[in-house]
């Protein structure tokens, strides 16, 4: 990377805010999707929104691509650096700026972790609803970029339903306010465009989020079943009875074992467990619980355990939330897939996954947000066996095809990133993709903001890895950028 440019970067951030040492850069090679790696030319760690803006301006002027990074827990290579580009790490922008309990909102910097918000507002009986399993560490900036969700999104919605407004630096270095405190704002709804854009439209530097009052009553049921199919039918029956549980999660035997080894949630010895959480006014919860209980019984639940207090509930959720990372206990390596199927197609897709497991010789664990059909198959492999990593990747991608064929989606919450961009044409037509691309180009005509992600093929806007190069058609005067 050009020394003059590095000097300029160093001049706009506080001391210690520019990393160029090879070993330092090495640790920024990848996010939680480790098989995709690229070494950035520099990492900047701004301590203010102004510094972020100054860095983006410099990149814009010099035509250097940049990638925002929160705490690097993304599972789709969203924060994968561009080789020789700049990584803008937002870990030091980690202040909670305002807690406004009467109006039920908080304003935070993007590096604040998801769980920190709930911790801060819980003395006031409030919480922040979206709860990705990685909430203990993932950043709000990352959540906004990925439109992250979690177990409780079935009832309460994803990140997009909880962001009121953001401040962001556009790829040209302009600072903009998008959205605001009111729930319905005039003009184009740019907020929904930014949320879920995977860092390809802007760098978020501040966010105002909605917090909720804790429900009067919460009740968590842990039920064991003979098979995934029976558990799945229980889910359909519960929802069919008109109940929207706060969460419905399912785990199979392999993932139960992994969680047990990691955090001892004391799950029953079963082929599948279902976690059903109900919340709301006490009377309503009691009424719904009676229905849920009878449904589970009817589906032959082999065990039922009810958590009425916080500690017990936490123990059950610990088991669920540790499930991915706990796979490290039962397999040297694993690949987390993330796909969505219509709930009614769950049994069929799961059957195909089981056949695939038998055929491929790789163990596949299943954890899912059963209520909304969001599957997380975990494909176990051993990277030290030559070829197995590639094999696992193929298996994972075959599962995605099952999801798309069933009328579902190629990602529920982990994003497209660098990992799944090649599948986009399987889900969207060329026209669909072009429409997205037009939006992208409107924000980032030079293609410097997290290039190489989401969109399947390098396109006019300069989706080329490495510093920006003028497009040949552009050079020839055939097209112009917009």
């Amino acid at each position: 990377m050009d020394q003059r440019f590095l000097d300029e970067l160093g001049a706009v951030v506080a001391p210690g805010g520019l990393l160029t040492d090879a070993a330092d850069l090495f640790t920024y090679e990848s996010d939680a999707l480790v098989h995709l790696r690229a070494t950035p030319g520099a990492v900047v760690l701004p301590v203010s929104a102004d510094e972020v803006q100054a860095v983006v301006r410099l990149c814009h002027r010099a035509g250097v691509p940049f990638v925002a990074r929160g705490h690097g827990t993304g599972l789709s290579g969203g924060a994968l650096p561009v080789e020789d580009g700049v990584v803008i790490g937002l870990s030091r922008l980690n202040r909670i700026l305002d807690v406004d309990i009467p109006n039920l909102r908080v304003t935070v910097e993007p590096g604040v972790t998801n769980l920190e918000i709930t911790r801060r507002v819980s003395p006031f009986g409030c919480y922040y609803a979206p709860d990705p399993s990685s909430q203990i560490v993932c950043s709000i900036g990352g959540n906004i970029a990925e439109n992250s969700g979690g177990a409780h999104c079935l009832k309460y919605g994803f990140t997009v339903h909880h962001v009121l407004g953001v401040e962001a630096v556009l790829p040209n270095g302009d600072n903009v306010h998008i959205g605001g405190a009111a729930l319905d704002l005039p003009g184009l709804d740019l907020l929904s465009v930014i949320v879920g854009s995977e860092g390809t439209l802007a760098v978020v530097t501040k966010a105002t989020l909605r917090i909720l009052r804790r429900p009067e009553a919460v009740l968590t049921l842990l039920a064991g079943f003979e098979s995934i199919d029976l558990a799945g039918e229980a889910v359909s029956a519960i929802i069919g009875r008109g109940i929207v549980p706060a969460a419905v999660e399912m785990m199979d035997r392999l993932t139960i074992q992994a969680a047990e080894a990691a955090v001892q949630p004391r799950f029953p010895d079963a082929n599948a467990v279902l976690i059903v959480e109900l919340d709301g006014p006490q009377a309503e919860v009691d009424e719904q619980f009676a229905v849920v209980e009878s449904v589970c019984r009817a589906q032959g639940a082999t065990s039922m355990e009810i958590a009425r207090d916080q500690a017990h509930r936490e123990r059950i959720w610990r088991g669920r939330k540790a499930a991915f990372a706990a796979m490290g206990r039962v397999s040297p390596n694993y690949y987390v897939q993330d796909g969505v199927v219509p709930r009614t197609k769950l049994p069929e897709v799961l059957r195909r996954i089981r056949d695939l497991e038998a055929r491929s010789g790789l163990r596949i664990g299943n954890v899912f947000h059963a209520g909304d059909g969001n599957l997380h198959p975990l494909i176990c492999y051993d990277a030290s066996v030559p070829g197995q990593a590639e094999h696992a990747e193929k298996v994972a991608s075959e599962i995605l095809l099952y999801c798309i064929e069933a009328g579902g989606s190629l990602t529920g919450e982990h994003g497209v990133g660098a990992d799944k961009k090649a599948y986009m044409p399987k889900m969207f037509s060329t026209d669909d993709l072009d429409a997205m691309h037009l939006v992208r180009c409107a924000f980032d005509p030079a293609g410097l903001c997290n290039p190489g992600k989401v969109f399947p093929t390098p396109r006019l806007c300069g989706e080329v890895p490495g510093p920006y190069r003028q497009h040949p058609l552009e050079r020839a005067g055939v097209v112009e950028r917009f």
């Binding site: 040492d21 070993a23 090495f26 640790t27 939680a32 560490v137 080894a261 990372a325």
Partner: protein
């Protein structure tokens, strides 16, 4: 200095431990150095990545890299947080040993570290130093003189306890304390180095409480350091020698348990079996020793409900988990159970309980700025709970927290678990 092989080659056998790391990042949010510095290289995940890079020859042992290992407090919060079961302790210990073997630190740094290791692990030398240290409190009142001193010395002065134990043997525990009433246990008491010199009364309180609960307590007079400080600084050979000496001191008697009241020493002593596993003459003895080691809270909670009558202590008590007790030894419930056994005590929860106070062995001496910031944060969280007393189980934590509590003008007491238990004894 050893020049055989690459600087990180001794970590190669530990690669399977590194492979357990799935790069999920769950350990970042409780890692004190990541909280302060906000950069990947100062996080557990980043450090493991650097170690692996070192083994694979993709990362060289440069000054920058060593710095990222130096900023690790060894608090093991990452082991608690890791859902994948990564054992970080053996990794960082071996890395530190490799650094000591292969890396030439700047001269001032080397001299400072050497001086620390010539003094700290030797109670008698430490005691000699304790008196001049006490007089330096005068210095605390002369900001101009203070400002002229190097940062590390300044922090050393700031940390010096107000009242080192009296004369040369003051604060020592009698070699034998008989059990009160029927004997239930025979225990050997390890008296520590820093503990013995600065917190002799903690050892005395420990012996009293143990005896009151029916333990016959023996505290061998001529015991040395357990080697924890050396081990955590990568001086593994020194650590092994300290370990052998301590094992020898306690050999020859049949103990039910070997009890320690300093969390850092306890976790090291429980690891002697591992530390000496390649030494055929000592491996078995070390394993046997380790299997008997108990934190004082473990031994006392085995003896609950208390036999000795307790008097009312109407206090709001915050229990601060010492990292080397909670994260390294998994001992969290026992001290709390003991505190709850004191009539009148209300246990108040503390925010950010899993975050280190910044003491961490010699960390507050070699990385004073980071340690001070962690100390300030810890005290702020403690103060929010408005306790009358904060109880902990490690001399380093007591030194660190007392210093920062006083600086911030707080008046709550900071005491060792054994002290509060002793206070609650009626006789």
């Amino acid at each position: 200095m050893d020049t055989q092989g690459s600087a990180f080659s001794s970590l190669a056998p530990l690669e399977p431990l590194m492979d357990k790391c799935v790069h999920c990042g769950f350990c970042l949010s409780t890692c004190p150095s990541y909280l302060l510095n906000g950069q990947e290289m100062d996080s557990p995940r980043g450090r493991i990545y650097l170690m692996r890079g070192g083994v694979q020859d993709r990362v060289a042992m440069s000054g920058t890299v060593v710095e990222h290992f130096d900023t690790c407090l060894g608090c093991m919060a990452c082991e608690t947080a890791c859902p994948s079961g990564v054992r970080y302790a053996p990794l960082i210990e071996e890395t530190r040993a490799a650094i000591e073997r292969h890396h030439q630190r700047p001269l001032a740094d080397r001299l400072f570290r050497r001086a620390l290791f010539l003094i700290l692990p030797y109670p008698r030398r430490l005691r000699l130093l304790a008196w001049p240290l006490a007089t330096v409190h005068v210095l605390k009142r002369s900001p101009r003189v203070l400002a002229a001193l190097p940062a590390r010395i300044r922090h050393l002065i700031a940390l010096a306890p107000q009242r080192p134990a009296g004369g040369p043997t003051a604060g020592d525990v009698p070699e034998r304390t008989a059990a009160i009433g029927e004997r239930r246990r025979r225990v050997g008491l390890v008296t520590g180095c820093v503990q013995r010199v600065f917190y002799g009364h903690v050892n005395q309180a420990s012996a009293r409480v143990l005896a009151a609960e029916g333990c016959e307590v023996t505290a061998p007079r001529r015991q040395g350091c357990c080697g924890a400080l050396a081990l955590h600084a990568g001086r593994d050979e020194d650590a092994r020698q300290f370990a052998r000496d301590l094992i020898r001191t306690f050999d020859g008697e049949r103990w039910d348990s070997i009890v320690i009241n300093a969390a850092g020493c306890g976790s090291t002593m429980k690891g002697y079996g591992e530390l000496l596993k390649d030494d055929p003459a000592w491996a078995e003895r070390a394993r046997a020793f380790s299997s008997k080691v108990r934190d004082i809270s473990e031994t006392l909670s085995e003896l609950l409900p208390p036999r000795a009558p307790r008097r009312q202590l109407p206090l709001r008590v915050g229990y601060h988990d010492a990292c080397h007790l909670a994260h390294a030894q998994g001992v969290r419930a026992q001290p709390r159970r003991l505190l709850e056994s004191i009539p009148g005590v209300t246990l108040v929860p503390l925010a950010d309980a899993e975050i280190c106070c910044g003491s961490a062995g010699i960390f507050n001496l070699v990385e004073p700025e980071m340690a001070a910031e962690l100390g300030r944060r810890k005290i702020a969280r403690l103060a929010e709970a408005t306790p009358d007393v904060v109880v902990t189980s490690n001399p380093g934590c007591m030194l660190q927290m007392t210093t920062h509590a006083r600086t911030a003008g707080h008046t709550f007491r900071i005491v060792h678990l054994a002290e509060l238990l002793a206070e609650s004894l009626t006789s």
